[in-house]
């Protein structure tokens, strides 16, 4: 028996799973490159960071708990409109706007989680799709509040810390989005390596066994769903604040579907999958839409088919498999 104050081998093993790798550090350092290499693309970089945060929130429920959603944009949209309305009717201070958006999206997530936690598979896909469409039409019809298809007018965001203005070059926007993304990523990283993260993986791996080990799976799912809604709401609020606009597009089915595609492309259930998938998807959209604006989904379609056929666990899943095989040799 090892001495009482030394770390036991199994504990050491579990601790090592949460250790930062060189590739991770390199990834986050690389997120600073746009400031130096592509200063003209900072607005795009900011949009990517925001969408990556949205993909991260979907990864928590889909990749970890196995809860599929085709209506996740509902929470993104609630966050986007909350932040917009807050700036219009209360004040334009961005951090308080983020908090309000997080709170409202969290309440919506918590309320719907009671339905979500009871279902799986196709029923769940249809349910989330239905809830997403519902949210869209509410935003669409509440013209007096949201501006409907004209978008929300009159959003004014104050400078960050009262100093840094949200300008056309996107310097502030990208700094702000990237900082929020990184902080929430740290939290998520902590979460997936926590006892709760393990419980979510248990739900994904075998929902039938969970009650037999004394687990209240539904409570776990409700909690995860609420957290995911909060993060999605923050992402939506970031988009409103950095672009000073909120439109129906933020709560549309298209956004729900796109984020699912990004996550599946990159690889669900590994945090970085959503980030990588978002980068590839959004850069591809930017480049392809320059060539043929109407048909750019054609290429995304081909990419998606190729990835799910050849790399069932996404691009990152494929990469880690190749690396593991190399290591074995």
């Amino acid at each position: 028996m090892a001495a009482a104050d030394t770390i036991s081998a199994p504990q050491h093993y579990l601790q090592s799973l949460g250790r930062w790798s060189a590739a991770e550090i390199a990834f986050w350092l690389a997120t600073l490159l746009p400031f130096f290499l592509f200063p003209n693309y900072l607005s795009l970089a900011s949009q990517i960071a925001i969408t990556a945060l949205f993909a991260l929130s979907l990864d928590l429920i889909l990749g970890y708990a196995g809860v599929v959603s085709l209506g996740h944009a509902a929470f993104f949209g609630i966050g986007a409109y909350s932040a917009g309305l807050f700036s219009k009717f209360v004040w334009g201070e961005p951090f308080s706007g983020l908090l309000v958006a997080a709170l409202l999206a969290g309440i919506a997530g918590y309320a719907t989680s009671f339905i979500i936690c009871r279902f799986r598979h196709l029923t769940l896909i249809m349910l989330t799709l239905g809830l997403g469409l519902l949210a869209f039409e509410v935003a669409n019809s509440a013209h007096w509040l949201t501006g409907g298809s004209d978008g929300l007018q009159g959003i004014r965001i104050w400078p960050l810390f009262g100093v840094f203005k949200f300008d056309l070059y996107g310097y502030t926007a990208y700094s702000y989005s990237l900082a929020v993304l990184f902080l929430i990523f740290l939290g998520m990283r902590r979460l997936v390596n926590s006892p709760f993260g393990l419980a979510l993986r248990g739900i994904r791996e075998n929902l039938v066994r969970m009650p037999a080990i004394g687990a209240a799976s539904r409570a776990h799912i409700r909690k995860a769903y609420t957290i995911a809604a909060i993060v999605a709401g923050i992402a939506g609020a970031l988009l409103t604040q950095t672009t000073e606009s909120a439109a129906l597009e933020s709560i549309s089915f298209q956004r729900s579907a796109d984020v699912l595609v990004m996550l599946v492309l990159g690889g669900a259930g590994r945090l970085y999958g959503g980030l990588i998938g978002t980068i590839i998807f959004m850069i591809a959209r930017d480049q392809f839409s320059g060539i043929a604006p109407q048909y750019w989904y054609f290429w995304i379609g081909i990419l998606l088919i190729a990835v799910v056929m050849l790399l069932p666990n996404g691009i990152l899943g494929g990469l880690s498999k190749i690396l593991a095989q190399r290591r074995r040799k």
């Binding site: 036991s8 199994p10 504990q11 579990l14 393990l198 993986r201 080990i213």
Partner: protein
């Protein structure tokens, strides 16, 4: 008088016109090792599903100790000390053995909802999980992902997961099902080495194993208790042999 760990009163269950449990009365004294035998389709697994709450009875009651648990959710029964294993592996294929058992321990300690702290901070839970795995001789494969474990080891992991809930009563549904006969002894050795305070009810088809490990045998036929008694009594019962082997004397 010995303390009763698990009992049922007049338990009934039918699916439409098919009766799967009829007037089942069980009384398992604390520390007892009961075998549940009977031909295929006798309702043995159904009885375990009823006791653990995975299906609801049409009538009757289930008691864990003195407490009526008939209407409790399965996970609430587990938390009160009633655990089971599955005839067909019901594991977490993508988790390794250590993670799976640690998860079960965390659930028992009520820390599985904790999302703000790294799991490695819960040393006591991890060490306990590791000890359970060592006890079942899974120590050298505890970092191996479940779906890649050899089948016999997966059967042991079934038991390890149930033990992690620290049960008072453990229901084993054919723990050695599918394990080659020469290795099935290993599974039952592991079962036999469990604490004497643990009350066991196991389903098993191999009569050598049943007579070796059971202190009491219940014979289930057509959803009802056909007879019960000590291994010697059951062995001497000509009726049991008849129904169990499905042979009927003609004439």
């Amino acid at each position: 008088m010995t303390e009763i760990a698990l009992s049922t009163r007049r338990l009934d269950k039918n699916f439409g016109s098919l009766v799967v449990a009829r007037n089942i009365e069980l009384n398992l004294p604390k520390g007892a090792r009961y075998a549940l035998i009977g031909p295929n389709g006798a309702g043995k697994t159904t009885l375990i599903n009823l006791i653990t709450g995975m299906i609801r009875p049409n009538a009757g009651q289930i008691f864990l100790g003195d407490e009526d648990v008939t209407v409790l959710e399965p996970q609430e029964r587990v938390r009160r000390g009633l655990a089971r294993t599955f005839q067909i592996n019901t594991l977490f294929p993508g988790l390794n053995a250590l993670e799976a058992v640690t998860l079960a321990v965390c659930e028992r300690h009520n820390i599985a909802g904790e999302f703000w702290r790294n799991i490695a901070a819960h040393r006591e839970a991890i060490d306990e999980a590791h000890e359970i795995l060592l006890k079942l001789r899974l120590g050298d494969s505890c970092y191996q992902i479940t779906r890649e474990l050899p089948y016999g080891r997966q059967r042991l992991l079934e038991i390890a997961l149930a033990l992690a809930t620290r049960p008072k009563v453990l229901l084993l549904d054919e723990p050695a099902a599918g394990v080659p006969q020469e290795e099935s002894g290993e599974v039952f050795e592991a079962v036999a080495s469990l604490s004497d305070d643990l009350t066991l009810l196991f389903i098993e088809h191999d009569m050598h194993v049943v007579f070796r490990f059971a202190s009491h045998i219940i014979v289930l036929v057509g959803g009802a208790i056909f007879t019960e008694g000590s291994p010697a009594e059951i062995a001497a019962d000509p009726g049991v042999r008849e129904v169990y082997l499905g042979k009927r004397k003609h004439g």
